[in-house]
């Protein structure tokens, strides 16, 4: 299957996502240019991490105006799987494809380290083969990952099981001490109502090879490969 990885000016995890898709998973990967209105036949779109437009103004705020985002919106409206990682998540929020917004980390510092996230639902293409409750060790790297939404939005996310990943302790307990950025309800990742658009702050592409010390992230990519293969049969 074919993954399309969007390059915005300032994206910097684009090549990392490409590497995992192509060289670790052995799937097809193509880059999608922000100025084009063409997803090049992608089966799944990845909005990679980085600093689109320098993250100037607000993270993700300027990227939402890129022509390619109209295509991504149409693709997702038709049920196509889309994942935003880190800055990609921020862009999905700014575009309104996902609910909520990001504030600066409670520490007010950029933080790069491994964290633990509990998978809350298997009802998204990106978690389709993960048993809910499983804890994954995946790194984060961001300055604005402090998820915020109005109280009723958070309630809706909870009620509809749209919180996909939550920061927890290694044992899977929700604990403020293991919340790296102050995110509301420990949100590390969410999905839309249709469940095909997922945003997450942790970087699974940085945890997909044994050489890098951790492979827990790979299952997120494998999940979507399986989900798409399954839906084609």
């Amino acid at each position: 299957m074919k993954f399309g990885i969007v390059i915005f000016p300032g994206s910097n995890c684009d090549h990392d996502a490409y590497h995992v898709v192509k060289h670790v998973l052995g799937e097809e990967a193509v880059f999608l240019w922000h100025g084009d209105r063409d997803l090049r036949g992608s089966d799944c779109v990845i909005l990679p991490g980085g600093f689109a437009y320098g993250d100037y103004l607000r993270c993700g705020a300027l990227a939402k105006f890129s022509p390619v985002m109209q295509e991504v919106a149409d693709f997702s409206a038709k049920g196509g799987p889309v994942i935003g990682i880190c800055n990609g998540f921020q862009i999905l929020l700014e575009c309104g494809l996902l609910d909520g917004a990001m504030l600066r980390n409670a520490s007010l510092r950029y933080v790069c380290k491994h964290v633990y996230v509990r998978v809350e639902t298997d009802r998204t293409p990106f978690t389709s083969i993960i048993t809910p409750g499983r804890v994954l060790k995946i790194p984060i790297g961001h300055m604005e990952g402090n998820y915020y939404a109005a109280a009723d939005t958070v309630r809706a996310l909870e009620d509809e099981a749209r919180i996909v990943f939550r920061y927890t302790s290694p044992a899977g307990e929700v604990d403020p001490a293991w919340n790296p950025n102050g995110a509301m309800a420990g949100v590390a990742g969410i999905c839309n109502k249709a469940r095909n658009v997922v945003g997450m702050m942790p970087h699974p592409e940085r945890a997909s090879e044994a050489a890098l010390g951790c492979e827990d992230g790979k299952i997120i990519f494998t999940s979507v490969v399986r989900a798409i293969a399954g839906s084609c049969v």
Binding site: C13, G50, F51, G54, Y110, G141
Partner: protein, 737 residues
């Protein structure tokens, strides 16, 4: 001298009367004001290396792997598979004192440009920092500003900052040091140079527009600071990492498409430096149409345009007729490009405004033929003096004090602010001796470490310099990589003072000797003089970056103990001393004595052992002994990210009969590494050690929850690893609150 050029205005330009006369000789006439300003910046210490060049010649610069030594924007070494590592270290000390965030950020931006200018894709950054003690609020705020500036720039660029070091001393309170190393990877055939070749070729300006930032930055870096440092503030440059990211991608794309004949970034002295250097290197000249330079501010004078140090700008030369192709690539990345001049046959820098010639200077007189001085030097006085006899201290308290001392305590607070994983090459995360980066598409990895020790160098410049080279090489070897090349950043006081030049000269000799002995030629570097405020200078602080090559990336070793029952060896030989040590400073509040002499033969044997043992898979961990000595190294080896490991060690086994416990536990120096070996590999490890001629003494085993040190049959230290870890891991953040 012309009546118009008073001695006072020469002094303002940091030029001497003799230099003025030399300018008149070069030009065979008097310079006009623009020309004089251009000479002033190009002949500044920062650009011309006028005080250091006669000494730098003594550094070894050749080696089988060296593809390009000092002289271009960065050094280049062969790393096999048709690939090369391009690397260099730079200082940004003065700007970081004036405005820590922007000063450090633009320092990072500058060194990154030096790397991609050569056609290499930057893959990692390391930072070597010096601050005054954290007790002073001002030092804390400088540190915070510098760290967030490095993070702000590097993170946005998507270049991981994967290693570095931080040391503290009061001498850096008014003169923090910010040295940044960047390394990139290029195919041999893709390397580009800063040469203006091909008469008639267009000269193209790309990147940010020119504003009034940083005018006279190079001159500022070439003079002492005084109380009116604040008044120099308008010089501050603001970095735009987003612009630089676009510039990086666009330049690499243009190079890949064969559109770039020559390219150079605009760093110190901006447009002036890049135009005259590119011409001088190619034996050609550049004619610049100043009215074509894209400006950010209105009413800028030619002098301001030529001297501006606005960031994120590059100058490139393409073949005639390819201007549009170049323009299209930059446009795709949202950047402007403008033809601003032409390569000419006359070896001059000619600046015109429409038809009027504003300046015409033989370009080599600004570069190779700039003044060079053999400044008077006096042999450095041996600062340290003898060690007083030390009162007894509780060894356990001493160990805890050392582990929580800022130079030794965990730097997690710092490196968590750096994206150290982007590009997914970081095989060894920060915290271990060297940073190790895989080279995708090959089975190899490179390792890097930056090290320097101002206390050592202040006490004994030559030995201190040798120790820094040895430490950096040892750190790299601990990871299993063979050290292959080095870069250096020389931070000193005022070179017009003979004692400073004496230190400088000795440091060069020390670096030269150590680099030669360890087979790590110097491929580039940077000299930063005038690190003085109100007449008070810093310690002479050479910082050495060593690059190593790991043939098989899967054989990488880190510093952490892995398993209960593994055998602990102390490998290596050489004298150990408490002189100028962290123990003396932290526990006894003293700076006295001299560091141990460096035994380069022992260092080489130790490197061989580390590299060979890693290649054969015989070591589970290797950690060098540096600040805080053996006891600290043992504790640090036990602070494994996956969980703490206790150790039980008998220090007597080291054969330090005539010393005392403090010397054995906390003494520094010596080519020493703490290694752990699986019991089944012990015999093979020992015989390998014998073969390479490196002593390896079995001192204990990994296991338990405590660090236990025995001395003459008595258990002198027995402390829970958790307690040590708490002291070490939280200290830095606590002190910054």
């Amino acid at each position: 001298m012309s009546p118009g050029v008073a001695a006072k205005s020469l002094a303002d330009l940091n030029l001497t009367t003799e230099e003025y006369e030399a300018i008149c000789d070069h030009l065979r006439r008097e310079p006009n004001n623009l020309e004089l300003q251009i000479y002033s910046v190009m002949w500044s210490e920062h650009c011309s290396y006028k005080s250091s060049r006669v000494h730098l010649r003594r550094l070894p610069t050749r080696g089988e792997r060296v593809l390009l030594g000092p002289g271009e924007n960065a050094g280049i070494v062969d790393i096999g598979d048709g690939l090369a590592a391009v690397f260099k270290i730079e200082s940004h000390n003065h700007p970081s004192f004036i405005e820590p965030y922007q000063g450090a950020a633009t320092g990072v931006g500058g060194i990154i440009r030096d790397i991609f200018t050569m056609g290499a894709r930057p893959i990692a950054i390391l930072d070597s920092l010096r601050f005054g003690p954290l007790e002073k609020p001002q030092n804390r705020s400088i540190l915070k500003g510098v760290v967030s500036g490095i993070a702000g720039y590097g993170n946005c660029m998507g270049i991981p900052t994967t290693g570095g070091e931080i040391m503290f001393d009061d001498c850096y309170s008014f003169n923090p040091l910010v040295n940044v190393l960047c390394v990139g990877i290029a195919r041999h055939g893709d390397i580009h140079y800063g040469k203006a070749s091909g008469i008639g070729n267009p000269v193209i300006y790309v990147g940010a527009r020119t504003g009034r930032d940083g005018i006279h930055g190079a001159t500022m870096a070439s003079a002492e600071f005084n109380e009116d440092a604040q008044a120099k503030r308008p010089n501050v440059q603001v970095g735009d990492p987003f612009m630089e990211k676009l510039l990086l991608e666009a330049c690499l794309e243009a190079m890949k498409k064969g559109l770039v004949t020559g390219i150079q970034d605009m760093g110190a002295a901006g447009l002036t430096c890049s135009t005259c250097e590119m011409g001088a290197r190619a034996g050609t000249g550049i004619e610049l149409q100043i009215e074509l330079v894209p400006l950010r501010e209105e009413g800028m004078t030619p002098t301001e345009i030529m001297l501006s140090e606005s960031q994120e700008r590059m100058l490139l030369v393409t073949e005639r007729g390819r201007e549009q192709d170049v323009g299209a690539i930059f446009k795709k990345w949202g950047l402007e490009s403008s033809v601003v001049g032409t390569v000419i046959a006359d070896p001059v820098l000619r600046i015109r405004n429409a038809e009027t010639v504003l300046a015409e200077i033989p370009n080599r007189t600004l570069t190779d033929d700039a003044p060079r001085y053999t400044r008077p030097l006096s042999p450095p006085a041996c600062a340290g003096g003898a060690l007083p006899s030390l009162p007894h201290v509780d060894p356990r308290a001493a160990l805890i004090a050392l582990l929580s001392a800022p130079p030794i305590a965990s730097k997690r607070w710092v490196y968590e602010q750096y994206d150290h994983m982007v590009r997914t090459n970081t095989l060894v995360l920060p915290g271990s001796d060297a940073t190790v980066l895989r080279v995708k598409g090959t089975g190899r990895a490179i390792a890097l470490s930056v090290d320097g020790n101002g206390s050592y160098t202040a006490a004994q410049p030559m030995a201190g310099a040798m120790a820094s080279v040895a430490e950096a090489a040892r750190n790299v070897a601990c990871s299993g990589a063979r050290p292959i090349a080095a870069t250096n950043c020389l931070n000193f006081g005022n070179p017009e003072k003979p004692e400073i030049m004496g230190q400088f000269s000795d440091v060069i000799d020390g670096i030269a000797e150590a680099c030669r002995a360890l087979g790590v030629p110097i491929t580039g570097g940077n000299v930063s003089f005038y690190n003085e405020t109100a007449g008070k200078g810093i310690h002479p602080t050479p910082v050495i970056g060593v690059l190593g090559l790991l043939e098989d990336a899967t054989k990488v070793v880190d510093q952490w103990f892995k398993a209960e029952g593994d055998v602990i060896y102390v490998c290596g030989a050489g004298a150990v001393s408490l002189g100028a040590s962290e123990y003396l400073r932290t526990v006894h509040g003293l700076s006295a004595g001299v560091p141990a002499a460096v035994d380069l033969k022992a260092e080489q044997a130790l490197i061989d052992l580390c590299v060979d043992a890693a290649a054969r898979g015989l070591v589970r961990s290797a950690h060098d002994c540096s600040d805080g000595g053996l006891a600290v190294a043992l504790a640090e080896s036990g602070f494994a990210p996956g969980g703490l490991h206790g150790v039980s060690v008998a220090l007597d086994a080291l054969g330090s009969e005539n010393g005392d416990f403090a010397l054995a536990a906390f003494g520094e120096g010596g080519a020493r590494v703490v290694a752990s070996v699986a019991p089944g590999d012990a015999a093979a490890f020992e015989s390998l050690a014998a073969r390479v001629g490196c002593p390896a003494r079995k001192v204990g085993i990994v296991g338990g929850n405590a660090l236990q040190l025995a001395w003459r049959g008595v258990r002198v230290v027995d402390v829970a690893m958790a307690e040590l870890f708490e002291a070490w891991s939280g200290s830095f953040a606590r002190q910054l609150q």
